[in-house]
Amino acid sequence: MIRFIILQNRQGKTRLAKYYIPLEESEKHKVEYEVHRLVVNRDPKFTNFVEFRNHKVIYRRYAGLFFSLCVDITDNELAYLESIHLFVEILDHFFSNVCELDLVFNFHKVYLILDEFILAGELQETSKKAIIERMGELEKQE
């Protein structure tokens, strides 16, 4: 199960944070700080997995952005690693060539997309097409 998903840039600015476990505000900020420290200096030649407390963080870097998923130690690492990539592809498709600024100015859209992709810490939909179409539907209603 995904415990949380965090998008951060190299400076550690959080661009998106979604928690599927109950954490207090201060604890969330601490987690974001620690996860950033954990992944930011890792060599690109290292694994995409790193232990974090009782769990493990699966992360991937896209340009200056780190996408980190915290999952159970028994979870399938590569499946989650590729779900990060799928999420990035969806964002890329939605914003046509996504860049950090898109995510900054449209963070509320990113939350909407994420809610169509992951729910309750589990993958909900793995079809890019289905999610993009769903976003179209929602935008019409706004």
Partner: protein, 1025 residues
């Protein structure tokens, strides 16, 4: 590109981005927060649009890392807005800002419920998403049934149903007691037929949670899962949009294989064949490709398939394929694959016996221990730890020690703990063990926990041969210039006890020893000083002939510390000073420490305690628990309150410190049970498990008491031949020679093994006998694992099987000697000739030192092991039931004195005995109908039908009808079930007196005196036929 559509929000974000430094940013944020706060205060003038904008800004500020301690109410209130745009913001921001524990969330429950049961699909989705992400207990209580309805509704779009599936998953994970999933196995089976892969993916996650909790209920889903896997991995029958780099939804494949790992086995041969065909295809057909994403996705599937193959204990050939693949992976350069290779090899060790093959890769694994990536080093460490045994312990531990000096701090503690455990578990000789621990302390003293040095002291105390060596080593380390404080502690302790053994060596006179230890005193902390004082007292005692000058020096030190502010130090100083004046009496009081009782290493306990936190119980752990026989040292099952479990073996010790009515009741209870018991009113022989207490307590007060309580256990005499009447209540017979107490309750272990196929059959301080069995039709293969828990060999090992007439049993040769800390496996072949409830007994004997231990243990080759559950349809059941018309093929009996239990519990009991309860066959809800197939050489496969009619007014009686095509079988099965129903297992902790046991209470109701005719079993039976 600014798509946001909210100008105010975009401007604010730009402002923040343009801030030159953190301070400016804070000012801008504070200004905005102030603005929002004022605007929220007079809410009247706020348009819905403005409200929405401010709430988004709040979320943005929150994301930047600032505390937002107001406005939660506004966010929550937007949820009840009538229009989508506001409602959507309310839902999203609430689920980001709040968590399930916030009180505000309660305000929204009603609105959320209305949205869920309402007609607006978009609102339904928003509400399900909120509940799925942050719904707590109250949501589960009020919403679970509605969510369940949506999931199976035929009028909802897949969009809603996939959300409902995951929403339900969250509610179930959080509150399994609130969400009622009775009868959901059928629904889940139907859901698995779903064509929409979004719904299927979500439902599969739900299924994983459900089966991890109770696989029994979801057997019907197993073939469906295999079908899904075939559809994806073999037929590639999925819409284009669900393939990922050409691979049919890797995520669904992975989830499906995960669900399958929670079923203990795949019994149906066709399903098994299909499954293995798919798995074989995955194992063989996954190639390394250039595209990273495709490669990762296909390997995600491959690793899950490996896990499933290991779980299913596939044929040898397939297993060796797996090991070969893993061997390849741990040597590749690609870091992720290498990491996973190491990780899965470690998992593989937990489930199957592949140690020897994995050992071939030892050098490769050690390379990974030096990898620059800490993630890989950690996995390599885990694997080395897991694969270590007597044969390679020296190499591996030395590798770990060498690595310790260069390891980063984050790993040192784990590394030293693991090295210490391995050294202890697999030491080829004890002096090596002492070397390892002292090196550990020397190299990484800060990371060596107290438990580690306590343990080495324990070993040295218990092994006389080791004492001079340990003392010499301790003395050598003291010569080093700057030694760690832990080294001071351990060497001072050891030299205090054993330095007199070195007396003739140069530099080892009492005076020299004292001086070199005393040099360290100024550098140590207050917790170490008491140990040093004890050492001085002991040195003083050992200095023969008395060395007056040394005596003067030591007394001066005691004198000095008599006024120490630390109470522990002061007390010791005062006591030792006074004792030193007593001359000869000192000898008795400061005598050498007695031996420690054998007990579980607190280190291993510590390592086991680090539990992982996962959403579902790990499938591999569940399985490893069933196969615990591989572990030599299992947890000592002594209850925390110090009361040993009431053992049917006959040696029950009840502590006399709680001499109350309660303990009298406990003493009498076993008699009631009909088992023979000698109550020994001595204090429990196991001292407190707190090692710290043992070692740091003032030495002077400890008398040589450790061995005393064990001395007169021979009183178990009158036991011989005293086998209790009921076949299942037979207690193993203890011989007089035994002075060794078993750990845990033998009868309880036996009963547990009747229900499951692996576990511990017997354990005492020296040996552990584990058992692992596989039953197929009338054949059984049982492996006995004889594990020597000690550092000395066990001699004259004899195992003799006393088979009853209906079982043919062949035990392979049992070696006469079991080497220290080794485990031998003895396979035992069993063939069931005919139905019988008689039991096989293992007569087991070994010698340890002067102890001869002989135990007779019942073997769990019981009748139900030859049963295989089978479901019968009404069309099959009724004709069969009628054709078996009466005695001797169909027998009926009214059973009284039944252990009262709810019907559901009885159904569980039946299922666990392999009597498959068939719900729905009997229209009366108070009745149970079960079916099973019995296998023996004489009867071959034979269908058995059972019907139980219970009386809701009196749970202590019932009527049972058993039918089969063989009169003996019918009778034996009936008696067997009866024993299970009236038998009362000894309560696991035996702390509380159990209710009245098996014997029929004299006032049991006469069969015809039921208050109403409707509950009369006879009338009910008539209704059925």
């Amino acid at each position: 590109m600014a798509l946001s559509g909210m100008r105010g929000l975009s401007v604010f974000i730009s402002d923040i981005r343009n801030c030159q430094n953190k301070e400016q940013e804070r000012l801008r944020v504070d200004k905005e927060l102030g603005n929002i706060r004022t605007r929220f205060k007079n809410e009247k003038g706020l348009t819905p649009y403005e409200k929405k904008k401010y709430v988004w800004k709040m979320l943005y500020i929150y994301m930047l890392g600032y505390d937002v301690d107001f406005g939660h109410m506004e966010a929550v209130s937007l949820i009840s807005a009538p229009k989508y745009p506001e409602k959507q913001v309310g839902y999203i921001v609430t689920s980001c800002l709040l968590n399930e524990n916030h009180d505000f969330l309660r305000l929204a429950i009603n609105t959320v419920r209305n949205d869920i049961i309402g007609r607006n699909e978009t609102f339904q989705c928003l509400a399900l998403t909120l509940v799925g992400n942050i719904g707590g207990r109250e949501f589960a209580e009020s919403l679970a049934p509605d969510v369940q309805k949506l999931l199976i509704s035929s009028s909802c779009r897949p969009l809603v149903r996939k959300k409902a599936a995951l929403c339900l998953l969250r509610l179930y994970r959080k509150n399994p007691d609130v969400v009622n999933v009775d009868g959901w196995s059928d629904r889940m089976t139907q859901l698995l037929d779903e064509r929409d892969l979004g719904v299927l993916t979500s439902s599969m996650s739900l299924l994983v949670a459900l089966v991890s909790n109770n696989h029994e209920a979801y057997w019907s889903c197993l073939p469906k899962c295999v079908k899904i896997l075939e559809r994806l991995a073999k037929n590639q029958d999925v819409p284009q949009e669900y393939t990922y780099y050409g691979i049919p939804s890797p995520w669904l494949q992975v989830k499906t294989m995960r669900a399958l790992q929670y079923f203990p086995t795949v019994e149906d041969p066709n399903t098994r064949r299909s499954l293995f065909e798919v798995l074989q295809r995955i194992l063989m057909g996954t190639d390394v490709v250039k595209n990273v994403n495709k490669n990762n996705a296909s390997h995600a599937v491959l690793f899950e398939a490996l896990a499933l193959v290991m779980h299913l204990d596939a044929e040898k050939e397939m297993m060796s394929q797996c090991v070969a693949l893993l061997g390849k992976f741990i040597a590749v350069r690609e870091p992720n694959i290498r990491y996973l290779g190491l990780e899965n090899m470690t998992r593989m060790l937990m489930v199957t016996d592949v140690q020897d093959i994995i050992k071939r890769h030892q050098a490769q694994i050690i390379t990974s221990l030096k990898d620059p990536d800490i993630s890989i080093r950690r996995r390599a460490l885990d694997l080395l730890y897991g694969m270590c045994d007597v044969s390679n312990a020296k190499d591996i531990v030395e590798e770990l020690l060498q690595y310790l000096s260069s390891a980063d701090f984050a790993m040192r503690e784990e590394l030293s703990l693991k090295a210490a455990i391995l050294a202890e578990k697999f030491a080829p000789d004890l002096s090596w063990y002492v070397d390892v621990i002292l090196q550990l302390i020397d190299k990484a003293g800060d990371f060596v926990s107290d438990d580690i040095w306590f343990r080495v002291v324990q070993f040295v105390t218990n092994n006389e041969d080791l004492q001079p060596y340990a003392a010499l080593k301790a003395r050598e380390y003291l010569d080093k210039p700057a030694i760690h404080e832990t080294m001071v502690k351990v060497s001072a302790y050891i030299l205090g006890e054993y330095s007199h053994l070195l007396a003739r060596r140069p530099g080892c006179s009492p005076r020299e020893i004292f001086h070199i230890i005393h040099e360290k005193l100024p550098t140590v902390s207050t917790s170490t000083i008491p140990i040093l004082l004890s050492t001085y007292a002991k040195i003083l005692m050992h200095s023969q002939p008395p060395d007056q000058e040394l005596r003067k020096q030591i007394l001066a030190i005691f004198n000095k510390y008599e006024s120490c502010i630390d109470a522990e130090i002061q007390q010791r100083a005062v006591e030792y000073h006074a004792l030193s004046m007593k001359g000869a009496a000192l000898m008795d009081i400061l005598a050498e420490m007695p031996k420690f009782p054998e007990r579980q290493s607190s280190l291993i306990k510590k390592a086991e305690e680090s539990e992982a936190d996962t959403a579902e119980q790990s499938a591999i752990k569940l399985r490893a628990q069933q196969h615990s026989s591989n572990a030599l040292v299992v947890t000592d099952q002594r209850p925390a309150n110090g009361t040993p479990p009431v053992s049917q073996l006959g040696l029950v010790k009840v502590p006399n410190m709680t001499n109350t009515d309660q303990s009298t009741a406990e003493q009498e209870l076993p008699h009631l049970n009909g088992a023979l018991t000698v109550v020994d009113p001595q204090p429990p022989s196991t001292p407190s498990p707190d090692l710290l207490g043992d070692l740091l307590g003032p030495l002077a007060i400890e008398g040589p008491s450790g061995t005393a309580p064990q001395s007169d256990l021979g009183v178990a005499s009158g036991l011989e031949g005293g086998v209790a009447a009921g076949a299942l209540a037979i207690a193993p017979v203890e011989e007089q020679t035994n002075t060794v107490q078993p750990i845990g309750d033998i009868a309880e272990r036996f009963h547990a093994l009747c229900m499951k196929d692996s576990g511990v059959l017997y354990e005492d301080p020296y040996i552990q006998i584990g058992i692992k069995a596989e039953w197929r039709a009338h054949h059984g293969r049982v492996v006995l694992f004889l594990g020597n828990k000690n550092t000395a060999p066990l001699f004259s090992v004899q195992a003799l099987i006393l088979p009853p007439s209906h079982l043919k049993m062949d035990l392979s040769l049992v070696p006469e000697t079991i080497p220290p800390r080794a485990q031998v496996q003895c396979p035992l072949e069993v063939i069931n000739l005919k139905p019988s409830r008689e039991l096989a007994v293992l007569d087991f004997l070994y010698k340890f030192g002067t102890n001869v231990v002989n135990v007779k243990l019942r073997l769990p080759a019981v009748l139900n092991k030859f049963l295989q559950p089978i479901t019968v349809s009404p069309e099959e059941f009724f004709p069969q039931w009628r054709s078996l018309s009466g005695p001797p093929l169909k027998l009926q009996e009214v059973v009284r004195g039944v252990r009262p239990m709810p019907l559901a519990e009885m159904a569980n009991l039946f299922n666990s005995l392999h009597l498959m309860v068939c719900p729905g066959l009997d229209p009366n809800a108070n009745n149970l109908v079960a079916s099973t197939t019995f296998y023996s050489e004489s009867t071959r496969a034979m269908l058995c039908l059972i019907r139980i009619e219970t009386d809701p007014a009196d749970r202590t009686q019932l009527r049972m009808t058993v039918a089969s095509g063989d009169p003996t079988l019918t009778f034996e099965l009936k008696e067997f079930i009866k024993e299970q129903l009236v038998f009362i297992p000894v309560p696991p902790r035996a702390a509380a007196p159990a209710p009245a046991p098996a014997p029929v209470p004299p006032q049991a109701l006469p069969p015809t005196s039921s208050p109403t005719a409707i509950s009369d079993p006879g009338a009910l039976l008539a209704g059925l036929l």
